[in-house]
Amino acid sequence: MSGYYSQIIIITGINILLAMGLNLITGYTGQLSLGHATFMGIGAYTSSLLTKAGLPFYISLLAGVLIASLFGLAIGMPTLRLRGDYLAIATLGFGEIVRTFLNNLSITGGPNGIRAIPLKTDLTTVIILTAVCFYLLYRLQSSRLGKVMRAIGQDEIASEATGVNSSYYKIMAFVIGAGLAGMAGGLYAHYFRYINPANFTFNKSIEILCMVVLGGLGNPFGPVVGGVIISILPEALRNISPVVSQYRMVLYGVILIVMMIIRPQGILGGNGLFINANRKGNFKIFRSVKGAVKNADS
């Protein structure tokens, strides 16, 4: 496959990983996080520093996932006490604080970032990791645990009244989502081989939010659809105008507003496409694709 197409597919895979994590946090447990790119950055920096220090790629990738999860835990725990909109700002603030540190610490290379990261990410790795993560997350989301998370997003007080320790599950969502973002960051760093703080800003977090909103908040397939659209979009726009990046951001703004007003459940619908599920036995590992699609959102 030509480099151009393989690059687009790799970017798409990374974006889907990012969107899947945010979907769990925002689409399921209803916590609006505006710092998702920060977790990606943490994974990217951690794994790059470790590979450059000589560790094998998969070990550093895993370390990136774990450290990002740890940050997810650290930000998830204190901010649990915050209502929705405050949480959004706190996660945004967290992102800014981390960015300030990345820009000032010598180990992260300041604004210059890290260069000459070994090229380790290839098409196969990205496809396999994305598919495996999607499958596992899909299982989780269509299990009782996924329903508990969704219930928390719909009505936290009612779910507590049924015995759900909502804090526990909200943190769990943050930890899993942050871990996935950390993995995406590690893959990103070892593909582009150069990272700096500007790769992981608020704008990137907004882009991830856009993918989830577009695909459908709370729909397990939403991140795939949203991820594909948003990843291919700049390629389509590139033919229209050279100043893609600003037009892209303008478009994201419009997408967010218009989707909220016209179709807040996203293209696939929070539940829309996959109603009338007829699930039997939550835990059979292999199930036909058709069954999977049908069961997706029951």
């Binding site: 989780l140 009782r144 719909q154 009505d155 007080i157 009244a161 049924t162």
Partner: protein
């Protein structure tokens, strides 16, 4: 035997004492009704008992154990479940998933068991399925089990909310105006249901404005007015109580 007790419960919102130094008790196996004019503090008392608010003053005991300040989810796990005055179903989820949520305090939702089958998750699922079918059949919701909660008519939504609350086989069931918005026939069915639940061993605390329902069903009636308890006794006694008559007429 006292199953639930509150002593000198007070809840302040700013300057307002929504519940003011109320002594309260609930005996095993009884149906206690809580009545009082609008804004008397009935729902607030429910919220105190279920841990949604922590009382400004006073203590709550379950089976003699002090549970003041416990979180709502742990109170639910202790076997105290409730319905809400403004129905709070998971409206986007199906009828059976709503009832499944009610079973959470019994079976949890472990991380590993959600991704791969483990012996305990298989066992939990079997138990859940049994309970689910029982509740669906008991409440006559079986044929509607795949329907989204929000698509049910109002009366059935109330019924489903009761189903969610009784799914984990609670010891105490708190019902906040379950007959609100129901027609006479539905109200009658509800009365039968409440009776039957009591006969199954569930202790019931009921907030209700429908006096016919209250007087017909309760073992005991407690009256709140402006946050204070003004009467507590047999339905016939309370009906004659001059203070109660005054609170309702004046």
């Amino acid at each position: 035997m006292r199953i639930l007790k509150g002593s000198k419960l007070t809840m302040k919102f700013g300057g307002l004492k929504a519940v003011n130094s109320v002594d309260f008790h609930l005996d095993n196996g009884e149906i206690l009704s809580l009545i009082g004019p609008n804004g008397a503090g009935k729902t607030t008392l429910f919220n105190l008992l279920t841990g949604i608010y922590t009382p400004t003053e006073g203590n709550i005991y379950m089976d003699e154990k002090d549970i003041t300040g416990s979180k709502p989810y742990s109170i639910a796990s202790m076997g105290i479940t409730r319905t809400f005055q403004n129905i709070r179903l998971f409206s986007d989820m199906s009828v059976e998933d709503n009832i499944m949520m009610g079973l959470h305090s019994r079976i949890g939702a472990p991380f590993l068991g959600s991704i791969i089958p483990t012996p305990s998750s298989i066992k939990a699922n079997r138990f859940a399925k049994e309970r689910l079918d029982w509740v669906l059949n008991y409440l006559g919701l079986y044929s509607l089990r795949k329907e989204k909660a929000k698509n049910l008519p109002y009366g059935l939504q109330r019924r489903l909310e009761i189903g969610r609350a009784i799914a984990p086989e609670p010891e105490v069931l708190l019902l906040d105006e379950p007959a609100a918005g129901m027609n006479p026939q539905e109200t009658n069915e509800l009365m039968g249901l409440i009776h039957d639940l009591r006969n199954k061993g569930i202790t019931i605390l009921l907030i209700e404005h429908d006096m016919k329902l209250v007087m017909g069903i309760s073992d005991r009636v407690m009256v709140l007015n402006y946050g204070e308890k003004i009467a507590d006794g047999k339905p016939e006694e309370v009906k004659q109580n001059p203070e109660v008559i005054k609170a309702y007429l004046g």
